[in-house]
Subunit: 81 residues, 2 copies
């Protein structure tokens, strides 16, 4: 089973990296961009011994306790077989 | 319209950052992990002037030409209203 975890800055937190990418893209001539925000993305392969519920709980725990800084970041995740 | 671009290392490329996260998680007692790979994630808000086809083409061009290093990385993206 594979879990995909997406960690991004909260909407209220300034993202200077995203702003830099956006202004670079504008200067390079790409049009129609309103905003760019960058985040992190983790692909976690779980071994077959876990049920879907266990996997879900384990991945959420990992995302919440380790991969995300709860002060400035939020996460979402999905599971795929 | 919002585009979500996911950039990850090609499967054949070693991901030392992911390996480090995996071994840290194992030492911290999280079980059942077979592998961890880290990538980047971009959330691009496009202004309303673009049709879905134009947005798709523009985002693909940005992802291919700027956000991804084609030698070691691959990308996928999705569009949402």
């Amino acid at each position: 089973m594979t879990a995909y975890v997406y960690v991004s800055l909260k909407k209220t937190v300034l993202d200077p990296q995203g702003k830099t990418i956006q202004s670079a893209l504008n200067k390079m001539g790409y049009k129609g961009l309103e905003s760019v925000r960058q985040g992190k993305y983790f692909e976690i392969t779980l071994d077959g011994g876990l049920t879907r519920e266990q996997a879900q709980a384990e991945v959420e725990r990992i995302a919440r306790e380790v991969l995300t800084n709860p002060v400035i970041e939020e996460f979402r995740f999905s599971l795929a077989d």
